[in-house]
Symmetry: C2
DNA sequence: CTAGCGTTCATACACGTGTTTCAAGTTTAT
DNA sequence: ATAAACTTGAAACACGTGTATGAACGCTAG
């Protein structure tokens, strides 16, 4: 019997966890107040301090529940692949090993596609608490995957690899954060009848070049140099004739993002 | 004489602007309180409301002063390049046109390398005010540059282009935000005697593949499929033997990021 | 039934936030 | 010098935050 001290039938603890997860996904850590959480969970304000002790402990519980399992399965997949050199030494494959468990968890689980949004939030939330939690919980997996990438890309200096990984993961998290990804997954995966394999391959193929792209070619260098001179010309030209000390304010109206522009003309 | 209503010699307005910019770069919008600002500027708390009216108006002034000029010069450079088809139809070159003015402003100006950090902050700050400001002030340039990219990559569907641009810019902003970029620019540009052209070419060559990479190849699809089966095997295996209902918490210690890992073994 | 324990409730605390007020000081112009 | 305009100063306001306190409730075991 006596497993934990918890005996009674009270689902308010679970309701608090769900409400917290939802609000975190929707608004982020700082903007998510205990009063919002308890209101959404139909619980009393003091309930969170009774069940968890503090806001941070609540959040820690939510994140651990989701991310620990994810990272554990990522490591399992990596271990399983390291036996097969054909896969283990392919940078795109290693990248996919980071994707696939997250992708599966976001599909099969009760949370549904919300899991991806949670990943995006937790990767991009600026709160110090979230950042330190993330760094802490990624400590065991970052080392192993760094070595895997290093093994798949032996020609790349380790410092350069670290830079590019940082780069690629930022791109990934930025991608997951917005609703764009959900829209993409939802519309494409059933609208245009693409299967999971193709969608995953597409995502991976967008990311891998960040890791494998060669340094600037001579032609690129020429283009850059040409642009630099052009830029200095136009810049000095505009400075010689400063139209107004109060630089004319750019007119603006409704928000419009890159993606929406792409949607316009399909 | 009567240009504006301002006559007196009071530099507290300028001090407020500088303190605001510094604190925003360092801590972000929400974490930057008016009391912090006025303390750092050696001004009274009421000064900001007297000179600007509100915290948002203060921030708007700071951002306009920096970003309006940047975007104006970006557009100038784009216009100058559209005359030359050899450059105007190269995706890497168009990407460089976004970089170069920012790069120059961060070098020549009094603000120094802080300008890059400001860009990173403003691109990644989650505050609704910052986001709407950004969307508003990028309205005039996003359209023109989208067309430029579309012209340079005619084979890419517009929707796909929007997706990839969103992707690439997220990666860029994530890059600028951290201190990694400053460390990179500082150490590399004078440590390893690389010139600005090479550094720019390197950054551009990391970003362009996101725009130009082909869709998943058949070999990639095979790899993904193999990984998917492997993943489902390991996942079900671990689910059949659930070690503990309370999943064992991953042990963690000091923070460690990808980049730092790369620095370790040079 | 009743004592005890786990849980919920309303309320209060101490603090930090952006904003406002109005008196005092300082410069500029008549 | 006197008046007007501009600028600073200290204090307070109303609000939202995370946390703490006891009293009341509900169930279950003795």
């Amino acid at each position: 019997m006596g497993s934990t001290k918890r005996t009674g039938r009270s689902d308010t603890r679970k309701r608090l966890l769900e409400a917290t997860e939802w609000l975190f996904i929707e608004t982020g850590y700082e903007a998510m107040s205990l009063r919002h959480i308890t209101a959404r969970a139909s619980a009393n304000l003091a309930a969170v301090n009774y069940h968890f002790g503090s806001k941070e402990a609540l959040m820690q519980e939510v994140l651990s529940q989701r991310l620990d399992r994810l990272n554990r399965e990522r490591l399992q997949l990596l271990s399983a692949c390291e036996q097969e050199p054909a896969i283990g030494s392919d940078a795109a494959a290693v990248l996919a090993m980071l994707f696939i468990p997250a992708f599966r968890l976001s599909h099969g689980d009760t949370s549904g596609p919300a899991f991806m949004r949670l990943l995006g939030r937790v990767y991009s939330d600026p709160s110090p608490f979230i950042r330190s939690f993330l760094e802490a919980h990624y400590r065991p997996i970052s080392g192993r995957f760094f070595e895997a990438f290093s093994h798949a890309l032996p020609a790349l200096p380790r410092r350069e690899l670290g830079l590019r990984l940082h780069f690629a993961l930022k791109a990934l998290s930025g991608m997951l954060a917005g609703e764009d990804m959900q829209a993409l997954i939802a519309s494409i995966s059933q609208g245009e009848e693409i299967n999971d394999t193709e969608l995953l391959a597409r995502l991976v193929s967008l990311l891998t070049p960040i890791l494998t792209a060669p340094f600037g070619t001579p032609e690129q260098l020429n283009v850059i140099e040409r642009l630099l001179t052009l830029d200095s010309i136009t810049a000095t030209a505009s400075r010689e004739a400063p139209v107004s000390p109060e630089q004319e304010p750019l007119r603006y109206s409704a928000p419009l993002e890159w993606l929406k522009q792409g949607e316009l003309a399909s």
